[in-house]
Symmetry: C2
Subunit: 358 residues, 2 copies
DNA sequence: CTGAAAGCGCTTACAG
DNA sequence: CTGAAAGCGCTTACAG
């Protein structure tokens, strides 16, 4: 169970230390003890200078601050957090960091949590619930202040650990039936239900659905369900569907399009569960010589950068990633302080953006 | 200097603990001491079971493992790292997480470092060197194993802290003249030099340059320099330039295009320092009724997803973000173990991708 | 193969 | 306003 081969951790300083400011102590670690000695106080007072400076005499504070500056002191957060039983770490687990799907969300959580004094740790589950479980347990070891998870398809073990931790847990990018704790998200069901209804309203029939079929992905399942119900309500059978397992790429979108058209040549519109697939389908239509939206209409989900760049521009559903990020961070902050008084579920909603493709 | 208002950290467990597995201990923290008691050993042996299981008697190991499983034990990494003077944390500071520019890099570093047993911490400097400094110092408090930084425009104080830390420091996305430590990157100078040369080779003259002019950004500066030299070598004066301060958006790209064409209507090509700006410019050309590449040629940098989606598709320079990420992670791993024997600078290069826009 | 002692660098809770 | 003592939950370095 040893994490990795341990080697000599500290390495020799780089050859040229010519640029090192001369006031810096030249060797050895500098901790509160060293600062205390230089400032002629005990480390207790140094600690106070850092956390409650108003309880330290001005002159003493000055000496301590000077000593810290001169010696390049950085307080050891490991020791601080262990001692205070309180670490600012907040793990955020997302399915992928490579796509720009979550990138606005990620940047906003990162910035907002950082400003509030927390230290976010991002982990990438690769749409794999077991991997998510492993990451969560690893992160729990850092005694975090709260936990942010994407989606609601956690393993039972993940759920157990979350609940037993007693920490504020926030699920995001979904509206789970049985939440683990608090929620900041939107209804994936409604999203596809609404866009499918919209397509029907714009006169499209035989509406297909193309999506990413990763195992136990609640968001995909919800989206599919929304599409199905809307299609049925429109008097059709939800036949024109095609999943793609795991890959979120333009090529996968093209494959899905060909798959659906191959089995159901009468398809008049395809709602995609992701902009990435939708844009891939748009490009494939151009290669196949299909006119959009006359021969076939295409819609996406996400309103990623791609959507307004592709030609014809993509009709899609905008997910307010930045808002989700900000809300999550705020919720973490208030939950930790203990003053959170808002609802346990925040629905940020979504917005249908009609462009040229449908 | 207190990081944030401290409140009650532990919160009451969620109302419904119906799903909690019954074998889990119902209250109180479970540490090595608790596991030790249950397994009838001392915590020393529990510690051994975790790190050097082969030095523990099979039957003892079984009891310990069972106890850990039953009680949902998660070792406290704060204590472990403090005690071992060795934390698996590796901060990675990037200018932005919102754009997909760095997203492949980020995901790959994340995955590779995680697999090697490290815990990457991503920070977002917003193209601000002072902010980067603040982040670095904050991260240093976690006693990291190594540091990964983007670019080479660190403040003197950042450089001091890096060097004094004695840690492996990797600069990336650049090839600095005076590196802080090791480097995994490519030449930003060459990138623009080569693409400008290529444009000349394809018959374009009066080549402009559009870029993000964030203060003290070495990568922008290098790119601009490469363009300038290539233009001069082609016998022209590098006049057709226009910077944009801070914003990496399609709109900013459109602004830059209009700015250059407004002052230099004879511009025949514009090399952009970023795909985002380039794509924005392509879209603007379409709005202005300019034909690409006949009226004006456009090139980008990065080969982001957008580039192959926009029409006409973008001629650009591919930066191997995933490779950079993997190389960085490997370098960190070997440097920490102490067996890194490769060159201190790894040049991953780049590749000109010719498409329709030039 | 297992354990008792000391300590990592801080903070908490108390004295003064 | 400042300090001495105890302890956070582990690991190191030694004994046995």
């Amino acid at each position: 169970m040893s994490l990795r081969s341990q080697g000599s951790k500290r390495r020799a300083a780089p050859e040229s230390s010519a640029q090192t400011s001369p006031t810096f102590q030249q060797d050895g670690k500098v901790g509160m003890k060293e600062i205390a000695e230089r400032a002629k106080v005990t480390k207790m007072t140094v600690s106070r200078a850092l956390r409650t400076p108003d309880k330290v005499a001005p002159e003493t504070l000055r000496r301590i601050t000077a000593a810290m500056e001169e010696m390049g002191f950085v307080p050891n957060s490991l020791a601080g957090s262990l001692s205070a039983r309180n670490s600012p770490i907040v793990p955020v687990i997302v399915p992928t960091m490579a796509n720009s799907i979550f990138s606005d969300f990620i940047e906003e959580v990162s910035l907002t949590l950082d400003r509030a004094g927390f230290t976010p740790i991002f982990g990438c589950s690769n749409f794999d619930n077991e991997y998510e479980e492993r990451l969560l347990i690893k992160y729990l070891g850092w005694q975090p202040s709260a936990i942010i998870l994407t989606g609601a398809s956690q393993t039972p073990r993940t759920r157990d650990f979350c609940q037993r931790s007693g920490l504020p847990v926030i699920q995001t990018w979904c509206l789970p039936e049985h939440p683990l704790g608090r929620v900041v998200g939107f209804s994936n069901y409604d999203m596809l239900y609404q866009i499918t209804k919209a397509l029907q309203g714009w006169g499209y029939r035989n509406i297909g659905f193309g999506f990413l079929n990763t195992p136990n992905n609640d968001r995909s399942r919800q989206r599919r369900l929304g599409w199905e119900v809307a299609v049925r309500e429109g008097g059709d059978e939800p036949l024109h569907t095609r999943a793609q397992g795991g890959e979120l790429s333009l090529e996968a979108g093209a494959d899905i399009l060909r798959g659906i058209l191959g089995r159901h040549p009468d398809t008049k519109a395809i709602a995609f569960g992701s902009d990435v697939h939708a844009v891939g389908a748009v490009l494939e239509c151009k290669r196949l010589g299909l006119r959009i939206p006359d021969d076939i209409a295409i819609t996406g989900c996400g309103d990623m950068g791609l959507s307004s760049v592709v030609s014809p521009t993509l009709t899609t559903v905008r997910i307010p990633g930045r808002t989700i990020g900000r809300e999550c961070a705020t919720m973490v902050n208030l939950s930790v302080v203990g003053t959170y008084a808002g609802p346990s579920t925040v629905n940020v909603g979504f917005e249908i953006v009609r462009r040229e493709s449908a």
